[in-house]
């Protein structure tokens, strides 16, 4: 009998303890494991969705395509690719994305700071593993938008083909 009780304690005790500590250590509104799984799921999808500038600009002309710029509003105001719409990744929620994008199957094109070689505001380079495109891609898929394509080229915003709108170009021009 005593043996049975001890055995039961040994089997169940750790399970009860770990369940308790998991409850204590988790905000029910934050799921880090889920984020890791999502990042792993997005990795192979993203590899198939990397496009050159030529493909990017051709896709952007498609009916109902959307260039989504997920940088800060202030960065967007200072300069962005012509035709892009701004929704900072910090403001992504299911309702804000539905309002800006609409149809979950809509073709979405993304770019970020790390698509530019200029490395000046408003596209100052972020660290390679922390490029905004990575985050934006994961977030879009996580909210159910899977038809995402990412610019895979490093370009110069002074190159006329980029169609850069904003002060970045003027600042550059005034220096010349």
């Amino acid at each position: 009998m005593r043996f049975l009780v001890i055995a039961l304690c040994l089997v169940c005790g750790p399970a009860v303890l770990s369940a308790q500590s998991a409850q204590l250590s988790q905000n029910p509104q934050i799921d880090f494991d889920g984020f890791q799984k999502l990042s792993a799921e997005v990795a192979p999808l993203r590899r198939e969705r990397l496009v050159s500038w030529k493909q990017f600009s051709r896709l952007a002309k498609g009916k109902n395509a959307l260039i989504l710029d997920a940088r800060s509003a202030s960065a967007f105001e200072r300069g962005h690719i012509d035709g892009a719409v701004n929704l900072p990744v910090t403001d992504f929620t299911a309702p804000s994305l539905a309002q800006v994008i609409g149809d979950p199957n809509r073709l979405i094109l993304i770019y970020c700071n790390n698509n530019f070689r200029n490395d000046v505001p408003p596209v100052a380079l972020k660290s390679r593993p922390l490029a905004l495109n990575i985050n934006t891609f994961i977030n879009l898929v996580g909210y159910g938008y899977r038809n995402v394509y990412e610019l895979n080229e490093v370009v110069d915003f002074n190159d006329p083909k980029i169609g850069w709108v904003g002060t970045g170009v003027r600042q550059q021009a005034s220096r010349e």
């Binding site: 250590s25 988790q26 905000n27 029910p28 509104q29 934050i30 799921d31 880090f32 494991d33 889920g34 984020f35 890791q36 799984k37 999502l38 990042s39 792993a40 990795a43 993203r46 590899r47 990397l50 997920a70 940088r71 800060s72 509003a73 202030s74 960065a75 900072p88 990744v89 910090t90 403001d91 992504f92 929620t93 299911a94 309702p95 804000s96 700071n113 790390n114 698509n115 100052a124 380079l125 972020k126 660290s127 390679r128 593993p129 922390l130 490029a131 905004l132 495109n133 990575i134 985050n135 994961i138 977030n139 996580g142 909210y143 610019l151 895979n152 080229e153 490093v154």
Partner: protein, 172 residues
Amino acid sequence: MLRPIFAALLLSAATAVLAQEAINTNPQIDYAGFQQLTDKVASYRESRLLSWSKFASAAKQPDTMILDARSADAYKAGHIRGAVNLPLTDFTAQSLARVIGSRNRPILIYCNNNFSNNESPVPTKGFQLALNIQTFINLVGYGYSDVRELNEVVDFNDRKIGWVKGRVPKGA
């Protein structure tokens, strides 16, 4: 006999994958590096989660800062008293150094998903897409390792939170 053939096959497969990567990769973006960083942060973060009372007492320590990585508009509309704003979208090595200073500085973070209110300026994000997750990964990735995260869901109308209200953001 089989083993060397198998090894050779593996090697050629690996080379093919590498070649593919070389073609497909923007040299300024490293997704695999992000995943490795995320894995590293996962276990570390577990030990860096604070209740509200611990968060509030830690915030009183000299040199400790509360960093709010939401949008500038959201921050202006409402934030925890004493918090400093640098939106995640504006994180770079330079901007973080300017706002934080020393890489050893104790940093406290919170986000939308720490609030039960689910309204502007803290509408709840997808649980796996909570801003704290991405802020934590970014701070560690830029070399700031003394990061602690609020681990409680609170109400911004609760007086103990010290919520500072500002103007309502555009479009809210």
